[in-house]
């Protein structure tokens, strides 16, 4: 399974975060992969409805989550504030991406 997270906006728009980060569960250590798979299952990414459109709030971040599992693929666009299950998932993917960031 692969999860891609693209982040737009917030107090600024960062092209690097909008380009997105992809986490491949097959390439993660077993423990981290299991924890992430658990969050994906809890968030029911393949089944949940797209949230209704609302007028954008200033400086709220928009997240685009793409999850791919074999033949299945789902793209979900959500705007802050996120429900807790999605927030946990976004936080985890973001943290994994940051920890694999090249040291400058």
């Amino acid at each position: 399974m692969r999860i891609t997270l693209r982040t737009q906006g917030g107090i600024a728009h960062f092209p690097g975060l909008a380009r997105g980060v992809t986490v491949d569960l097959d390439l993660l250590p077993a423990e981290a992969a299991a924890a992430l798979a658990d969050l994906v299952a809890k968030a029911r990414l393949f089944d949940r409805d797209e949230p209704p459109a609302a007028p954008p709030a200033p400086d709220a971040r928009t997240y685009e989550l793409v999850v791919e599992d074999g033949e299945r693929r789902r793209t979900l666009r959500v705007v802050e504030p996120l429900p807790p299950d999605l927030q946990d998932l976004v936080d985890r993917v973001g943290r994994l991406a940051r920890s694999s960031r090249p040291v400058v």
Binding site: G9, G10, A12, P15, L17, P56, A57, P58, D59, V104
Partner: protein, 358 residues
Amino acid sequence: MTPHRHSIFCILPPHLLEHVATNAKTPAQRHRALSTLATDSTHRAMRAVRAASFVSGAPKQPRLHAFEGKVRRTIWTARSERALPGAAVARTEGSKPTGDAAVDEAYDGLGATFDYYWHVHCRSSIDDEGMALDATVHFGREYDNAFWNGERMVFGDGDGELFNRFTACVDVIGHELSHGVIEDEAQLQYFNQSGALNESCADVFGTLVRQRLLNQAVDRADWLIGAGLFTSGVKGAALRSLKAPGTAYDDPALGKDPQPDHMSKYVHTLDDNGGVHINSGIPNRAFYLVATALGGHAWEKAGRIWYETLRDSRLRPNASFCRFAGRTVANAARLFGSNGDVEQAVRAAWETVGVSTK
């Protein structure tokens, strides 16, 4: 924290309160129910007028006048949770510094922003009616953002790898609270050009809050938004530069500052609500050019023109750059004389960034 024993009354419907008032067992009970009723009917009436005034397009609502010119701050801590307003009150108006940097920076930043609007534009808080300023700090874990949610400021602590705590920059606090002011006055729609104007005005007043706090003249100011927000691991000085849009950062993780400094480089995109944080570079630079052409303190003339433009009833919520620019010229003429140096400086600035004021 002040005791708050009767909060249940806030969610009871009026007919139940009347019942409590009529059948109260003690005078104290009766008094509480009656005072809740009185307050609540006032607020209900105000809400009704407010709702009606939005329909009719009337610009202002009835005022309380009770707190004009007096800042009233309450800083909450969320203790790394995501519940609002937070776990506990950390600092209230007039109390001593706590030693918690996020709490004290939020308190000071709210104060600096309130002071800016009151002393420079005679504006009493976000709504010009003395609205209390509330903030929540330590919001979430490694939370990389700050925002105004229509009622309060919310600040994350940052992840520590890319971002420091979001209270660290007073111009970021001024930026966020100015979104509240813009929503109250111009209601610039938050996408495409009107959204970029919304962002630009938040940057303009955010940086003016900081320049005034530091008593900086235009040639002493750095014209950066969010200097110090990045950790030392990030290759960049700040989030944005009004002086030189597109040069604030260039980092492997964050990418390169995408802001254009001229209409010819306007970015057409579906990202970021149509590039609201991207194309704001164009009006940002126009403001910088006006302010530096006029010299002295940017808030005295350039800031006044921009503030009066935000309050201009001829500025529509879907304003384009051209329409906004035209109103700044008209306001410069109105405030400082037709065809005078100030009006000419405003015209020249927009021309330099490729925006027509005809």
